[in-house]
Amino acid sequence: MEFLSYLISGISLGSVYAIIALGYTMVYGIAKMLNFAHGDVIMVGGYISLLSMSSLGLPWPLAVILAMLVCTVLGVVIEGLAYKPLRSAPSLAVLITAIGVSYFLQNAALLLWGASPKAYTPIIAGSVKLFEGQLSISYVSMLTVFMCIVIMIALTLFTGKTRMGKAMRACSEDKAAAQLMGINVNRTISMTFAIGSALAAIAGVLLCSSYTSLMPTTGSMPGIKAFTAAVFGGIGSIPGALLGGVLLGIIESLAKAYISTQLANSIVFAVLIITLLVRPAGLLGKYVPEKV
């Protein structure tokens, strides 16, 4: 029975990682950059939804939509101001800029919202009790898993069926060729950031609903974990991000339960290293051998 319970908490934790990883992977696939500020956009999403619920008194669906809007705008603005001028720059320069943006968001949040942690009221409370109360699954976990699957399906359809989605795939294959085919590459990249940031807002709400506390640095660690998850599943691959995130969550939970809580993180990373040695492009990533 405990095993089931560990497994469920792993899946629920993994689903949050997966949603964040989806944002990472999309941006990476199209812009070929590691957006280290993604985790901090999650934190902003968390704060906006919390404040709009507690200060403005909005019901939670409105709060989530508001958070998504703010994060979308934020994502597009960050992209336009900080990343767009570096389109032709070496990828490491963009990476460092992303780190700068991440510091900026954290410190701006610190000044705006203060250093004290704020308790986050979960958007839905309660849990289902099974087997005479021996096993309980919270509604938040169920919602997280559900949202994760919905988002993955929506993204797969979007990239596969719509014009914009196809443009994104074209950009991710070859930017120059895409441009020649009449695709507005800059607009496509902005669009990717908009979608990625809206996902970050949802991830923020779900993360804070299960981890009921919010601080300016809340987003950074889940951000790194999600980055790991995205690479684990094969960066650039949408189902890969989902698989990577969920597996990471399950491994973390089971390692905590059966091996050692102290080394849980090391075990997760060790599994990652071994996986990458066997499959150098992640679980579902395409391995493209270099041609001469």
């Binding site: 405990e2 560990y6 934790l13 409370a125 849990s127 009921t212 973390e252 809580t261």
Partner: protein
């Protein structure tokens, strides 16, 4: 080509830096009395009064910003009150707080920065790791330091001029075990602590050592780190499965609030027992205090206490900073008043060097007794440890009430 550009940029950066240095120096200059213009200062002291320079160190950015902020604000209130009431021995107090991001290296930088400013006495550092790093410097350079909240015995060990105002870790760890042994005999205890944090690990070690003597059975120990502090359901499930009816949480209140919420969500309701880091949980913004019902905390300070001193402090703090003070703020406040008392007893004047003040302070602190927000009749041992016994309180209807001992 790139080199030239980077060179220019670096030059620009250096210029900014110079400008930065320049401006800080300007502000610091008039206060650099002790080094440069000692003779002058003495004359001034006689005519205009002069000031004591008290420095503070703690994190005001980064993960632990809340603790540094609280200490800074608490001490600031004390300084303002003292200055309004005529200062120490008739001299005003200048107070400057520097950020250390809870990092040893930055803390030493902050300390050096304060020494440039002319600091005579240090209230800090706030966190344990920083305090140990800085304590070596203050010992070497004979500056008196009183830390409001760094609780490890390593902070004061071997340094005669480093004092603590808070309980020490062993004090809290074994104190908790003794209390549990006396009041909840034969309890099955689970411990959940943060194993990459000196404070948490320190209390856990002494707790587990003492628990064996107190007939307490530790049935489960779970840990988390900064990196895995998002999900505690595994630790809680395991604690429940091990049959723990008492969960000891030697951690800060932020993860504790999450543990309480997640335990509640899974329907696990043991008695939770926290230490001084847990204080603040009731005033956490947006926290549903019903979750903390029945939680026991060993704490020296409670913002809901009825005495006048606490009431005034809480009112002033809320008016200024818009939040209820936690134990750190109270510790910061007490530190300044403890220094005031010692300086008045010793008859210190601002023209004394840091070392002279230090010697006077060491003598005073080992002989005086002090009453403040966080305890009455506190005394200090020569090692620098404060003796005040933690008081167990219990959360009832959203406020602390003294638990029946």
């Amino acid at each position: 080509m790139k080199k030239v550009i980077s060179l220019v940029m670096v030059m620009a950066l250096v210029m900014c830096l110079m400008a930065g240095c320049g401006s800080t120096n300007e502000t610091a200059d008039p206060t650099e009395a002790p080094a440069e213009a000692e003779a002058e200062a003495e004359v001034e002291t006689a005519s205009e009064g002069g000031s004591f320079y008290i420095g503070g160190i703690g994190p005001i950015t980064g993960d632990n910003a809340i603790y540094g902020m609280a200490v800074m604000n608490g001490a600031q209130i004390a300084v303002d009150e003292i200055n309004a009431a005529g200062g120490i021995n008739g001299y005003t107090v200048e107070y400057k707080f520097e950020d250390d991001v809870a990092d040893g290296e930055t803390a030493v930088n902050a300390y050096n920065n304060l020494m440039d400013w002319g600091m005579q006495v240090l209230v800090g550092p706030t966190t344990t790791g920083s305090a140990i790093s800085v304590s070596a410097k203050v010992y070497e350079e004979r500056v008196f330091a009183l830390t409001p909240s760094a609780s490890s015995p390593d902070v004061t060990a071997g340094k005669d001029n480093m004092f603590q105002l808070c309980f020490t870790d062993p004090n809290q760890g074994s104190g908790s075990a003794v209390y549990m042994g006396a009041n909840m005999p034969e309890a099955k205890v689970a411990v959940i602590y943060r194993n990459d944090d000196a404070y948490s690990q320190g209390i856990r070690d002494t707790f587990v050592a003492e628990a064996a003597n107190q007939n307490l059975e530790v049935v489960y120990e779970g840990t988390f780190t900064e990196d895995t502090a998002t999900d505690f359901s595994v630790q809680l499930t395991a604690a429940q499965a091990a049959g723990a009816d008492l969960v000891f949480l030697p951690i800060y209140y932020q993860p504790a609030s999450v543990i309480l919420a997640q335990a509640n969500a899974m329907g696990y309701a043991p008695t939770f027992f926290g230490v001084d880091g847990m204080d603040g949980i009731l005033t956490l913004e947006g926290f549903d205090t019903s979750l903390a019902e029945g939680v026991m905390v060993l704490t020296p300070f409670s913002a809901t206490a009825e005495d006048e001193l606490t009431q005034n402090f809480v009112a002033e703090y809320s008016a200024r900073y818009g939040e209820t003070p936690n134990q750190f703020a109270a510790d910061g406040y007490d530190c300044v008043y403890a220094l005031k008392q010692a300086m008045e007893n010793a008859g210190c004047t601002p023209d004394m060097s840091a070392e002279e003040i230090c010697n006077a302070m060491v003598e005073q602190f080992t002989s005086m007794s002090f009453s403040g927000l966080t305890g009455t009749d506190m005394t200090w041992s020569a090692a620098g440890e404060v003796s005040k016994m933690p008081v167990a309180v219990m959360v009832k209807d959203g406020v602390y009430v003294t638990a029946e001992a």
